[in-house]
Amino acid sequence: MEQRTVIVAGATGLVGQAILQGLLDDDSVASVHALGRRSRIPS
């Protein structure tokens, strides 16, 4: 698959955080733009 660029809204939430992690672990994803109301991404 060609490289994808992805936007995530709500990446600090319960499901959004897991989506963000999955995208960051995916080699087919070139870049991820996370949109949030807060700057903190829990680890």
Binding site: I7, L14, G16, H33
Partner: protein, 166 residues
């Protein structure tokens, strides 16, 4: 990470895909109107901005029972969002409708949701009686299901908990 005001969303960077996972509760938001501003308005604004930025596929974290005709406010808002997104020209739209979500909200800096904890306890005791679509599901399982379905999505797909559970 872009910190944005969802009521005045800037133009988004060019993208292929968008995941919509904004959500709150009426209790945290403080009112039904404030809840709707997040769960409906903000998610829809991001979807439209992503389309304008070239996105052709979208994944949504909705909820079991989402129905624009529901008499329950929460389910109605979720249903209205699903309906509004369905009318946008995405090539592929995947809607996840998880039942009760399981996961540690405290590590996210979120207050616990007592209904979730109570429901999970009941379901552990009576799990054998509960149909798969109604069983509690981990946030990570919902994420995994969306991540695998969205890249190849065509038209509209709805995922219930039973198909997302592992």
């Amino acid at each position: 990470m872009h910190v944005v005001d969802f009521q005045q969303l800037p133009a988004l960077p060019k993208a292929d895909e968008v995941y919509l996972a904004l959500g709150t509760t009426i209790k945290v938001a403080g009112s039904q109107a404030a809840f709707r501003a997040v769960d409906y308005d903000a998610n829809l604004a991001v979807a439209k901005a992503a389309l304008a930025a070239g996105a052709s596929r979208a994944g949504l974290v909705s909820a079991m029972g989402a129905d624009a005709a529901s008499s329950v406010f929460y389910s109605r808002v979720k249903g209205e969002l699903e309906q509004a997104l369905s009318q946008l020209p995405f090539q592929g739209l995947v809607i996840a409708r998880p039942s009760l979500l399981v996961g540690d909200r405290s590590t996210l800096g979120q207050p616990s949701r007592r209904g979730e904890e109570l429901g999970f306890a009941v379901s552990k005791a009576l799990g054998f009686l509960i149909p798969r679509d109604y069983k509690p599901i981990r946030g990570t399982d919902v994420a995994r299901a969306l991540l695998s379905a969205v890249p190849a999505a065509r038209g509209k797909t709805v995922l219930l908990s039973g198909t997302m559970l592992r």
